[in-house]
Structure formats: structure tokens, C-alpha cells
Symmetry: C2
Subunit: 388 residues, 2 copies
């Protein structure tokens, strides 16, 4: 039987650039800024890195190759560097790969770098045409997630008002975060009256198109104390693929994402978590659309299926709730440069666990969760991080 | 200090389809045939696979996503599946990732699947424009490798006749291999008088454009005996990035590839190899062009720099030599569907180590090597496999 790698790997450095419409930064500029922020945070130089992983989903011409966009950008030569790609779970899965390699004992210290540049390119829908499995049918991410959201709303009686509360919460959190793309509060009325993108999603139900980069340095946990006292441990990781095209699967119920259920089950088993709502103190989850956050609550085991909206209605996932979700502002406000997002979430959870999150700090977290779902619905990657 | 994972992972199944112009097979058809060949070889069903890696370098529209092209194609659901991409080392690096994850103890058994479909698409040069770092300058793989080959020929006095011997050897080997793309012998005169593609490379100095897929099943070495007696062990793996653009590096000597030197040094250190020429019994190396095989001899430590041609001149790398190289026919004759190649090389080395290579079987190999270099020159991945 497979073994747990709980507590074998530590996070000793995190870095994240300001996300947004970074007109003054190219892909490599963002990569370098994020990586050196993580190096500085870990108080190491790049020469201490034994291996590296690049998470980039849909690179523009000339970018996204591990050797070019990580090796050359950081002058990190004669090292093992790989690129991992896994839909919207690209960044988290790059982190998972670094964790596995360090846990295997192959490397003492590794860099995970997530980067994506979208704002100087054709619309994401166009950019995706070359790589996305729902090809040539005109489908887009908002349109596909909307199919599930409307089915869910019909089944469980969820309203657009409830969806709007996710947007209001995450925009509020983002308004407190100097690195978020959209640092503005929105009101329920603004969300409900915004132009419709794909019913039930209005403009403020959808995450923006964003440039960004984030980086994480991991090392063997028995070495972590040499670098800092407040290192954090990787408690669990999980990855699961449901189907590359769940929306074309006749057995799909359109009410949530099995990939998230399975990926989180793997991570919880490794971390020894049996009651995620009680045990996890803070979570960064994949709120590409407002409905996605509500189904995530359920698929991650925070609430029974169909009852996720209760958590947002009752304020339990707000900054001052008992289960704060997306204190960073989430994809909704922080932005979603795909390969960067998962790594940025690790940055946020580690920052929260260290108690360094400033105005958006949640109360005394000991255990935090990172979650992406992509495809849409094809794949999910989950990581659990915690205090030593 | 990082630890060795020598002997922790075993190969218990290998599969490879007929490479070529596979007009009757789509990308997923090839994936399924290769994967089930490996499952059948391991005498397992797909349900025994705990995790999987897909190696595809430049997927066409709608293909190459882990969840779609591996998960859906094999109906392998609710499992962790990732895609790795690393230039021409994509397949070998996918294998390396599966080995690391099993060595970490996270999974008992993993599938590595390399697939690429090129023959029904625009020329590889065109296909590469969107992703290659040497963008917009008209450069191609033959043109770039030719720059190094001509410099090498000038420096060390290598002739086109010596290059041709690599082509004659590999075409001969491929003529014995029912799965090779080009199963035909060529004479030295045919190689030398073929149309020039990029001097010094004529048509028969260049590997063809090919469709193909290959798969490997790895498991914890302590479980291998449950599946077969003639399992093989992973002795070492290595990956190194020199620069994403070595041909633009003013310090590059154009005489070989540092990435290969570093990747093989990592793998040899792990495997405990100090004299590769004496210790390794059979090798599959990256002969994208005839000159590449000669510089590989040197960069892999089989010969001092500038003296690699001696090995081909003296017949030492022929099937009946003391260091057979590319008994499969190599990229030159077997073909080079990029993501598939590294996995196909693992298939060949395992087949040779088992003594099941038929007409192309080399004498009693105990230790074999797999090598890719890509980018060109940006990255190299090496694996060493051996008898228990």
C-alpha cells in the first residue's frame, strides 16, 4: 500500500508579485520577480536550489518552456527543471511534483514557479482554442460552468443573490490585499445588475483575465529549521482526474466536481483529516465563478451536497468566520493567471499560517488548504499545509 | 545531501506500437494501443494503476491534455494524471516523474505514456513556431544542429563519411525491427549522395517525422516479483537544463551538449557508474541527426571529447560491438514522435535486458542507458536501467 509523505517536506520561502494588467512586465520579468521574492523570503540564493518545476498552462510563443522561461530567466543552469501542465490545476500540480521529488529524497530543496501572461494576448477563449478539448464548439469557461450552475440552482433552489454573496466576500477580501488584481469592494446590487456574461454569471460572478507569477521554495523538513523557525509543513497532496470532458459525460449530474472530491480525499487521508470543516482553519479554493466556490464547499467536504450556500449565507467563510475561504480575494478579486494561481494560493496559505497576512489575516490558523479545479471539472489538485 | 533512489523502482511492463505514418490511428488510438500493450505485458488491468504521467511535447488541438488524452482515452478515472513537457526529453522526463513519485512511496504502481502525432499536421517546423524559443528567425532543428556539427567537423576533422556510418548502422538495426518507421538499410553512398537538408546533414542524416506511442508500467521494486521474474530496476535518473537557447549563448563552444554531460553525471552517480563505456552494456541515445549520436558518445562519457567517431569507425557501437548504441534503429530509423521517444527507448532497453529483442538482440546486457537531448541542447534526461 502506498505510504503517506505527510510532514516530509517543508515550505521555507514564498513569493508573489502584484497580479493585474502588468503592461510593464514580460513573462520572464514576472517569473524573476516572483522567484527572487521566494528566494529572499527563504534567505537563500538561487544556487541552493537543486531542482525546479515550472507551471504554465497556455504559454505564448517562445514562452513556457522550462529551460527558457525558468532556466534562462533565473540563470538557473545545470539543474533539473521540468514543466508541468494540468489545466487550471497546473500551479498546484507543479507544487505537488516538487513535493514528491523532495519526499523521494532526490533533492534537498526545490523551486516551484507558476507564471502566466494573458493581458497582452488575444482573449482567453481564443488563446484556448488551440489546446482545449471542447474545441470548435464555441464553448467557453463561463458557458460551461454556467451549465452546471443553472442545473445546481434548479436542483437546490440556489439564487443569484446567494452567488452574489461570494463575489461580495471575495472582492472585500481582495480590497484589503495590495497584490490583488481588482482591489475594489462590490455591493450585492452591483453584482446582480452587472452585465450578464453567461447566465447566471454576471461580470462580477466571473474571475478576471490577469497576468501574474508566484513562487515557492520547498525543502526536506528535517532541514527546514536551518532556514527559518516559522516554516510550514506539507501535510497532504492529492490529484484526481474525472474525465477530460465531464460536461460531455452522460452520467455527469452537473451538480459539482468529482475530481475535487477525490483529490481532497487523497490529501485528507494523507494529512489524517477526517472532519475538514472542523480541522481546516483557512482555505484558498478555486472560485473561477461564484458558483464554483459554493460547489467547492461541498466537494471539499465542508458541507453536504446542496447545502454549501449555507456557509456563505451565514458568514462562516468570511474573514472573521470559523472557516475563512479565499482571504486573499480568491481568483475573483486576486485574478487567475492559470499556472500562477495554485502557487499563489500556497503563498497565501503559508502567509496566513505565519500570521503575516496583514489586514486580511484570519485568526490563528494551524492548518490550511489549497484547491484548484480545472478542465472544467476534468482535474483537481489539493494541498494541505500546516504548522509543524 | 540528497539520497539515491537506486533500485527502489522496477519496470514490470512495456509497450510500443508500430511507429510510422499511422494514417489509420488518431492520437488516442495510439495511446490506447501502447498503454494496453504495457498492461498486458505486466499482466495487470488498468485498475491497478495508481497514478499516470503523459508525455506529449506539441499536442494538436484538443489533444495532449492529461485528463483527455490519457484519462478519457484509457477510461482511467479518479486517478492522479499529469502531463510533463520538456522539449525532446519529454518522454524520458515523464518516466523520471513516475519513478520519483513511486520512490517517494506515494504510489505503488504508475503508468508512463508517451504519444505524439505529427504526420497529419503541418510540417514540424510550422508546428513548432508557436512554442519554440528560436522564434521568428526561420531556424529549424536541422539548421541549428548543423551549426554545431559543422563547428565540430572543423575542430576535430570529422568527415561526412563518418557521420554516414551512424546512419548506415541505425538503418541496419531498424531494418531488423518490425516496429521501426523506416525498416530499410541504406548504404554509405546513399547517405552521402542524398539531398542536403542542412549541410552537413543529408536526408539520411536526419530522423524522420513520425507518429508513435509507447508506454511503461513501473512499480515499487519490493512488489515487482509479484508481477514477473524478469522485472528490471531503475538504477539512476538525471535531468539537466543548460540554457533554453544554448545556440544564442556566446560562451557555447558548439562542440557538444552540457545538458547531456550533467544529466548523465547525475544518473551515473545514482547508479554508482564510474566507467560508463565499460559498465553500460547497451544504450538508446538521441540520434536526431547523425552528428548528435557522435557527440552523445562523448557527452555520455563513452569517449573523450573529439574522439567519439572512433566508436562508430571501429564498429564498437554496432549490434555486435562491445557498446551497442541504438539497437532499435534509433530516432534515425525508428522515428521520433517527440513525447513518445523517451518512453519507447525505455521499452527497447527493457526488451534488450530481458533478452527479447529478436534479430536485434545484443549479447547478454546487464545494464542499459536511455538518453534524450532537446531544445536543441537546452535539456537532457537520462535513465539507467538494469537487471536486479
Amino acid at each position: 500500500m502506498a505510504q503517506s509523505i505527510k510532514d516530509q517536506v517543508a515550505v521555507i520561502g514564498v513569493g508573489c508579485i502584484k497580479f493585474g494588467d502588468n503592461v510593464d512586465q514580460g513573462y520572464e520579468d514576472m517569473a524573476v520577480e516572483a522567484a527572487f521574492a521566494a528566494f529572499n523570503d527563504a534567505k537563500i540564493g538561487p544556487e541552493e536550489i537543486d531542482a525546479a518545476w515550472l507551471g504554465t498552462y497556455s504559454p505564448a510563443q517562445g514562452h513556457g518552456k522550462a529551460a527558457v522561461s525558468l532556466g534562462d530567466a533565473l540563470r538557473l543552469y545545470n539543474k533539473p527543471i521540468s514543466r508541468v501542465e494540468n489545466f487550471c490545476a497546473t500551479g498546484t500540480d507543479a507544487f505537488r511534483h516538487a513535493v514528491m521529488a523532495v519526499a523521494a529524497g532526490l533533492y534537498d530543496m526545490a523551486l516551484v514557479l507558476g507564471v502566466e501572461k494573458y493581458k497582452d494576448r488575444p482573449g482567453r477563449g481564443l488563446a484556448r482554442e488551440g489546446v482545449h478539448p471542447y474545441h470548435n464548439d464555441g464553448s467557453t469557461a463561463p458557458g460551461l460552468f454556467a451549465l452546471a450552475a443553472t442545473r445546481y440552482m434548479h436542483t437546490y433552489g440556489l439564487s443569484r443573490e446567494s452567488l452574489a454573496k461570494v463575489s461580495v466576500k471575495n472582492h472585500y477580501n481582495g480590497s484589503l490585499n495590495p497584490k490583488a488584481h481588482l482591489q475594489k469592494k462590490v455591493s450585492t446590487e452591483e453584482v446582480l445588475t452587472a452585465p450578464i456574461v453567461a447566465y447566471p454569471f454576471g461580470l462580477y460572478d466571473c474571475c478576471p483575465t490577469t497576468d501574474g507569477a508566484a513562487a515557492v521554495v520547498v525543502c526536506r523538513s528535517d532541514l527546514a529549521k536551518e532556514y527559518r523557525d516559522d516554516y510550514m509543513l506539507v501535510k497532504g497532496v492529492g490529484l484526481s482526474v474525472t474525465s477530460g470532458r465531464p460536461f460531455m459525460d452522460p452520467t455527469y449530474d452537473y451538480l459539482g466536481f468529482q475530481a475535487t472530491q477525490h483529490a481532497s480525499a487523497q490529501a485528507y487521508a494523507m494529512a489524517g483529516i477526517t472532519d475538514p470543516l472542523a480541522e481546516i482553519d483557512v482555505a484558498e479554493v478555486h472560485d473561477c465563478f461564484t458558483w464554483t466556490e459554493i460547489t467547492n464547499y461541498e466537494d471539499l467536504g465542508f458541507a453536504p451536497k446542496g447545502q454549501g450556500a449555507g456557509l456563505i449565507e451565514e458568514g462562516r467563510t468570511a474573514l472573521d468566520g470559523d472557516m475563512p475561504v479565499n482571504p486573499s480575494g480568491g481568483l475573483k478579486s486576486f485574478g487567475h493567471p492559470i499556472g500562477a494561481s495554485g502557487v499563489r494560493m500556497v503563498y497565501e496559505i503559508v502567509t496566513q499560517l505565519r500570521g503575516q497576512a496583514g489586514l486580511r489575516q484570519v485568526a490563528d490558523p494551524r492548518l490550511g488548504l489549497v484547491h484548484n479545479v480545472g478542465g472544467p471539472g476534468a482535474v483537481s489538485c489539493v494541498a494541505v499545509l500546516g504548522q509543524p
